[in-house]
C-alpha cells in the first residue's frame, strides 16, 4: 500500500511536468500561427517589392535572387511620393500641433476653473465623439467649398482639428483634474498670471497625457482617408493614403510598383510604432475605450 502511494507521488510531478511542457508547446504553436497570420501579409508584400516582375510571377514565396530597386524608382516617380510625403507630414504636423495646443488650453480652463457654463461646454465638446465622420462628408464638402478652402494646403487641417478635439479634450481634462488643488494658489502668490500658470506649470505637468494625445492625433491624421478623398482632388495636395489609392487604381497590373509604394508608405508609421510602442498601445486603448 505504502509503496503504491509512494510511486504515485513520484510519478505525478513528472507527469504534470510533461503535461505542462506539452501545453506550453501548444500555446507557443497557437501564438506563432497568430503572429504569422498577422505579420506575413505585410512581409510578403515587402519581400516581393524587391523582385522583378518576372521573378515574382515564378516564385512569390522565396527571397529575391537579387534585391531589385527598380520598383521603388518606378513607384517614387509615377506616384510622386516626394510630394505625398511632404503633404502628409505638413498636414499631420500642423493638425496635430494645433489640436493639442488648442485642446490643452480649453482643457485647462475646463478642468481648473469653475464657471457657469463649464459643464455644458465640456459636454458639448465630448458630444463630438458621437458624430460619425461619414455623416458629415456632404456638408463638409459644401462648407469647405463655400469658404473657398477647397484644394488648398490647409483644407484638411480644419476638419482634422474639429474631429479630434473631443478625444483630446476628454483625455487632457481628466488628467488635469487630478492635479492637487493648491497648485495655482501658490503660483498666484508668486504673481503668476493665468496663462503663465498654464504654460509653465500645467503644461509641463501634463506631459504623459500630452504624449498620449499627440500620438493618437498623429496616427489618426497620418492615416485619415475620407476627408482627404472628398476635399482634395489636386494631385499636388494629396496626402499619402489618398495618393496611394489613386496610384494603385492607375497601376492595377504593375504589382511590383504597387508593393514598393506600399512598403515606402509603411516605413514611417512602422518605425513610429516600434519606437513608441508602449505609449501608442496605452494611447490607443485609452482612445478606444473612451472614444
Amino acid at each position: 500500500m505504502e509503496t503504491v502511494v509512494q510511486s504515485e507521488l513520484k510519478k505525478t510531478p513528472q507527469k504534470t511536468k510533461k503535461k505542462r511542457s506539452v501545453k506550453r508547446l501548444l500555446i507557443y504553436a497557437v501564438l506563432t500561427i497568430f503572429a504569422v497570420v498577422n505579420a506575413y501579409p505585410i512581409l510578403w508584400m515587402v519581400i516581393n517589392s524587391f523582385k522583378s516582375e518576372k521573378e515574382f510571377q515564378v516564385d512569390q514565396f522565396g527571397w529575391p535572387d537579387t534585391f531589385v530597386l527598380d520598383n521603388y524608382v518606378n513607384a517614387w516617380n509615377t506616384a510622386n511620393f516626394g510630394v505625398l510625403f511632404k503633404n502628409s507630414i505638413f498636414v499631420c504636423l500642423a493638425a496635430t500641433i494645433s489640436t493639442v495646443l488648442i485642446g490643452a488650453i480649453a482643457s485647462y480652463f475646463l478642468s481648473r476653473f469653475t464657471f457657469k457654463m463649464n459643464k455644458v461646454v465640456y459636454t458639448f465638446f465630448i458630444f463630438g465623439m458621437l458624430i460619425p465622420i461619414h455623416a458629415t462628408l456632404v456638408p463638409m464638402f459644401i462648407l469647405i467649398r463655400n469658404l473657398g478652402l477647397l484644394n488648398t494646403p490647409i483644407t484638411l487641417i480644419f476638419p482634422y482639428i474639429a474631429f479630434h478635439l473631443p478625444i483630446t479634450i476628454f483625455i487632457l481634462t481628466s488628467f488635469m483634474k487630478a492635479f492637487p488643488k493648491d497648485i495655482e494658489e501658490s503660483a498666484v502668490m508668486d504673481g503668476c498670471g493665468i496663462f503663465r500658470i498654464f504654460w509653465s506649470i500645467i503644461l509641463p505637468m501634463s506631459r504623459p497625457a500630452l504624449a498620449t494625445v499627440i500620438i493618437l492625433n498623429f496616427i489618426y491624421n497620418w492615416n485619415e482617408f475620407s476627408f482627404a478623398l472628398v476635399l482634395i482632388n489636386d494631385p499636388a495636395l494629396q496626402t499619402l493614403p489618398l495618393g496611394l489609392a489613386s496610384f494603385a487604381g492607375q497601376f492595377t497590373t504593375n504589382y511590383g510598383a504597387q508593393m514598393a509604394g506600399l512598403t515606402m508608405s509603411l516605413i514611417p508609421i512602422v518605425a513610429f510604432y516600434l519606437l513608441l510602442e508602449k505609449e501608442i498601445v496605452k494611447g490607443m486603448t485609452a482612445g478606444a475605450v473612451k472614444g
Binding site: R24, I27, L31, A35, N38, P41, W44, M45, F56, Q60, F61, I102, G103, I105, A106, Y108, F109, R112, T114, F115, G128, M129, I131, P132, H134, A135, T136, V138, P139, M140, I142, L143, F158, P159, A162, L165, K177, V188, I194, F195, I197, F198, I219, N223, F225, S226, P241, L244, A245, Y255, Q258, M259, L266, E277, I280, V281, M284, T285, A288, V289
Partner: protein, 291 residues
C-alpha cells in the same frame, strides 16, 4: 477644481479657438446634414424643399436595404470574429512566457497601419492571378480552389470581412490584456490553492472578472464596423454588383457620383441616427461609464 479669481475674459479667450473650429467644422456640418436632407439639390443650382421625400425614396430603394444588410453582415463578422479571437489569444498571452513582448508587438501592428495601405495590401493578396492566397493554393496542389476572391459576388463580402477582422483583432487583444493584468494576483492564487484547474479558473473566475471589458469591446466593435468605409471603398468600391456596398458607401456614391446632395444627406442623417441609437444602448447598459 476651484476659481483663481473669476477672470471671465481669460476663460473666454482660452475656450474660444477650440469652440470656433469645433462648431464650424463638426457641429455645423452635422446640423446642415439635417437641413439638406429635406431638400432636392445637385450641389450647385437652387435648392427645392421636398419634405420627407428623400427619406421615402431611400426606404423604397432596394439598394439601400442591401447596404444595410451588408453593414449588418460586417458588424456580425467583426463581433464574432474579432472579439473571440482576441479574447482567446489574450488568455494565452496572459502568463509568464518567453517572447511575450514579440507576440504582443506583432499582434498590435495592423492597428496602427493606414486602412488604405491594408486594403491595397489585401487586394494584392486576394488577387486572382498572382495573389498570395491563390499562390498558396496552387503550391499545395489545390489549384481548383483558386478563386477570384474579390470579384465573385458570393465571396467578396467574406473576403472583405476577413481583412476587417485581421485589421482590428490586435486592438481588442490589447484591451483584453490590459483588463487581464488588472485581475489581482491573490484571486488567482486562492483558486490555485483550492485546486481549481487552469481551465476552471479561466472559465469561472478570469472571464467573469473581465466580462465588462468584453461587453465594452463588443459595443466598440459594433460602432466601429458601422462606420466601415475606407476599407471597402479601396478594396471593391462596393462591387461586384453592390455585393459589398455598406451604408456609408451607398451614401458616398449617391452623393458624389450621382450629385444628389439632398438624398445623400438624408442617408447621412440615417447613419447618424443608427450611431446615436447605439450610443443610447451603450449608455443604457453601462450607465455613464462609457462617455
Amino acid at each position: 477644481m476651484h476659481a483663481v479669481g473669476k477672470r471671465r475674459g481669460a476663460i473666454i479667450l482660452g475656450l474660444l479657438p477650440a469652440l470656433i473650429i469645433y462648431v464650424i467644422f463638426a457641429i455645423l456640418p452635422i446640423l446642415q446634414s439635417f437641413y439638406y436632407s429635406v431638400m432636392e439639390w445637385d450641389g450647385f443650382s437652387e435648392m427645392t424643399y421636398v419634405g420627407l421625400a428623400n427619406f421615402k425614396e431611400i426606404f423604397q430603394d432596394p439598394l439601400f436595404w442591401n447596404s444595410v444588410k451588408n453593414n449588418i453582415f460586417v458588424v456580425l463578422a467583426s463581433v464574432f470574429g474579432q472579439v473571440p479571437i482576441a479574447l482567446f489569444i489574450a488568455l494565452l498571452l496572459n502568463r509568464k512566457l518567453k517572447g511575450l513582448k514579440i507576440f504582443r508587438t506583432i499582434g498590435f501592428l495592423p492597428v496602427v497601419l493606414s486602412t488604405v495601405v491594408i486594403s491595397l495590401t489585401w487586394s494584392l493578396i486576394y488577387n486572382s492571378e498572382d495573389g498570395l492566397i491563390n499562390g498558396v493554393l496552387r503550391t499545395v496542389g489545390l489549384e481548383g480552389w483558386a478563386q477570384n476572391w474579390l470579384g465573385d459576388t458570393n465571396l467578396a463580402m467574406i473576403s472583405v470581412c476577413i481583412t476587417v477582422i485581421w485589421q482590428f483583432v490586435g486592438l481588442y487583444l490589447i484591451i483584453f490584456l490590459a483588463a487581464l493584468q488588472n485581475i489581482p494576483e491573490e484571486v488567482l492564487e486562492a483558486a490555485k490553492i483550492d485546486g481549481a484547474s487552469e481551465w476552471t479558473t479561466t472559465r469561472k473566475i478570469i472571464v467573469p472578472m473581465i466580462w465588462d471589458t468584453v461587453i465594452v469591446a463588443v459595443i466598440l466593435c459594433i460602432a466601429g464596423s458601422l462606420k466601415t468605409f475606407d476599407l471597402i471603398y479601396v478594396m471593391t468600391n462596393g462591387g461586384p454588383s453592390h455585393s459589398t456596398e455598406v451604408m456609408a458607401l451607398y451614401m458616398f456614391n449617391e452623393t458624389f457620383s450621382q450629385l444628389q446632395y439632398g438624398y445623400g444627406s438624408a442617408v447621412s442623417v440615417l447613419i447618424f441616427f443608427f450611431s446615436l441609437i447605439l450610443i443610447y444602448l451603450v449608455n443604457k447598459i453601462f450607465g455613464k461609464k462609457m462617455i
